[in-house]
């Protein structure tokens, strides 16, 4: 707890406060705009953060991530278009509410629930992170290998399009990860004689190419729906305050679901929001009211996705294992700054870790204070023609990636990854497992080879501790579950 309070000293420094503010506003805006997600925004911003102090950089990037969860509900409620995938379920009850003239109530519920969910997620992070750190400080290469393998399998199986496509994409991502100097032997792998490839493919180029560019291509010629957002009256929103008592249990249930699922690799905010909604429906006496505009149907998923957005940082920061592609990019940002996340990070850079956690809460307060008066302004943003955004994204991506190494090589890399990402997307291959494989692959190889070096090639060393056996069992169970799920013909399923 004292660590957490001391984090405020870092987070309240003017420069950190400024970038936290900039991050959450930007996140809020990309959240409001359907079609541009937090992950594209973060990968585009990544080069801009290189000149910053690592703490400041991560505070801003994280702000974009959880800020988008706030903004996403606005488009869901007013336009019936989810701003981000994890706000999709909010449309079910949010939009009917808005149609009934209760947009103010729905928006206020979403914002208050987001704030409460986020706050509870941060509390979970403050309580559990030190426990996980003290537990994982004893991890050797075998335990790390087991945890990383779990992350890879989770990344491959969390998607909706079947485990085979996930495995294929993870394998391709890991192959991309092998490019460059092999740390153990000093052998240059797949460098094609190009010096730029010796350091490996740049995560910025891969992430921007896979997430930013296909988004632009897929939306550029699509005609924008001409639907006007429903108008909101700020006064109606304030008068809705007294009706909020009924959402408290929904918020608590939603935040619990989100807080528990957030740290699991591959689960994340989207799945949390879907589960919270179905839990909410199953705990009520009249489930048929859901989908017709019940505020509990807005409160539970919004609390869940915000809680999950915060607790997702737990494994990323304490174990160095990203559960979602966004976390993989934030991990990459830290590594570019020369900081490798893991239990040592919390011990060696307490100011970074606790400063980040403290900034989460400051950012959540910012978002709440900002969004309640300004909701009308955000809603109007949705009506800006989308065609203005695409040239901006392409310019930011190309010039930004140039700045990473001051060479045009990475622009060509973005082009290659963008075309590949778009074609794969059209064939129904999601990019997230590829990125997770790309980030985790080199770590898996390193820990496996290190473990085998320690044990002189004895594979039983990988199963020599209870911890690693438990983790391997989880991995096997997850793999089995996703294969079985693939056989069952799926009902309408959330896009993971």
């Amino acid at each position: 707890m004292t660590d957490f309070l001391s984090g405020f000293a870092t987070a309240l420094q003017p420069v950190n406060l400024l970038y936290c503010f900039a991050g959450v506003i930007l996140g809020n805006i990309v959240g409001v705009l359907p079609g541009i997600g937090a992950i594209a925004a973060i990968s585009i911003l990544l080069p801009l953060t290189f000149s910053l102090d690592p703490t400041t950089a991560v505070i801003m990037l994280a702000g974009v991530y959880y800020g988008a969860e706030y903004g996403g509900s606005i488009a869901s409620i007013l336009l019936n278009l989810p701003g981000t995938a994890s706000n999709a379920i909010t449309t079910l009850d949010g939009y009917p509410l808005a149609r009934r003239g209760e947009a103010g109530l729905a928006l206020l519920t979403a914002q208050i629930s987001s704030f409460s969910g986020g706050t509870l997620g941060i509390v979970a992070m403050v309580v559990f992170s030190p426990l996980i750190v003290s537990f994982s400080l004893s991890f050797g290469p075998a335990e790390y290998f087991a945890t990383l393998l779990l992350g890879l399998v989770a990344g491959a199986s969390a998607i909706g399009s079947g485990p085979l496509k996930g495995i294929a994409m993870v394998a391709v991502g890991m192959l991309f990860g092998t490019v460059g100097l092999d740390l153990n032997s000093g052998y240059a792998r797949f460098d094609l004689g190009i010096p730029n490839l010796l350091d490996g493919l740049s995560i910025v180029a891969v992430a921007m190419g896979l997430f930013g560019i296909p988004e632009v291509i897929a939306n550029i010629s699509a005609s924008q729906s001409q639907e006007k957002p429903i108008a909101v009256n700020a006064r109606a929103m304030y008068s809705a305050f007294r009706r909020l008592g009924t959402i408290v249990p929904s918020v608590l249930r939603g935040a619990t679901v989100g807080g528990l699922l957030g740290p699991l690799p591959g689960a994340g905010p989207t799945i949390s929001s879907f589960l919270a909604y179905s839990l909410e429906r199953s705990t009520t006496r009249n489930p048929e009211e859901f989908g017709t505009g019940r505020i509990n149907g807005v409160a539970a998923p919004e609390a869940a996705n915000n809680a999950a957005a915060q607790t997702a940082f737990i494994p990323t920061m304490t174990l160095g294992i990203p559960g979602t592609p966004t976390m993989a990019i934030i991990l990459g940002a830290l590594m570019i700054h020369g900081i490798s996340p893991g239990p040592q990070l919390v011990v060696d850079h307490p100011d970074l870790f606790w400063g980040l956690v403290a900034s989460f809460w400051i950012g959540n307060v910012f978002l709440l204070m900002l969004n309640i008066p300004l909701i009308g302004v955000w809603a109007r943003l949705v009506a800006v023609p989308r065609r203005f955004f695409f040239p901006v994204i392409v310019a930011l991506v190309c010039i930004g990636v140039f700045g990473v190494s001051n060479s045009t090589f990475d622009i060509w890399m973005v082009l290659l990854m963008g075309v590949l990402g778009y074609v794969l997307r059209c064939f129904g291959f999601p990019p997230a497992p590829l990125l997770i494989g790309f980030v985790l692959g080199p770590m898996v190889e390193e820990y496996l080879r290190r473990a085998l070096m320690i044990s002189a090639g004895d594979y039983s060393y990988l199963f020599s501790s209870t911890t690693s056996i438990v983790i391997h069992c989880l991995t096997a169970g997850l793999l089995l579950w996703s294969i079985l799920r693939g056989f069952r013909k799926k009902a309408p399923q959330p896009a993971g």
Partner: protein, 146 residues
């Protein structure tokens, strides 16, 4: 032809795997107890090839219809715009590159709004120059160097 379209995604994965397998050909494999630099890439290439081919077979049997919503014109315009940045940015400066790229991107849409595109191009290039060159100190010029 239809079969090939259904199989496209899986075959693409398998092709990537094959390219990496060929590239890994001259790396020392080592053995499972003491892996060389080639072990991981070779194993992963095999996984990618097998998974890719399996996906291709499944999609053909299912008749999945291949790529959904593939828009060649948008893909080409975005790809050319990015390539323009790669070729021109260092020599031609931020303004000229951005304006040309904005026009190429505008070609992806059915009708070209020339005046609007020019305004977007100029505003965007000034913004990019202010942020990246003035703000972040990137070694790029505003106008062509020659």
């Amino acid at each position: 032809m239809k079969t090939l379209r259904d199989a496209g995604g899986g075959l693409l994965i398998a092709t990537i795997g094959l390219l990496f397998l060929l590239g890994a050909g001259d790396m020392a494999l080592g053995d499972l107890r003491n892996m060389g630099p080639g072990m991981f890439p070779t194993a992963l290439s095999v996984v990618a090839i097998v998974a890719g081919l399996a996906i291709a077979v499944i999609e053909v049997l299912r008749g999945s219809g291949g790529a959904i919503g593939f828009d060649f014109r948008a893909l080409a315009c975005v790809a050319v715009a990015i390539a323009l940045y790669a070729v021109m940015l260092e020599a031609a400066g931020v303004v000229l590159t951005t304006i040309v790229a904005v026009f190429v991107l505008a070609l992806a849409r059915p009708q070209l709004r020339a005046a609007e595109t020019l305004v977007v191009g100029i505003a965007l290039s000034v913004f990019a120059w202010a942020v990246f060159v003035k703000g972040l100190g990137m070694p790029l010029s505003f106008l062509p160097d020659f």
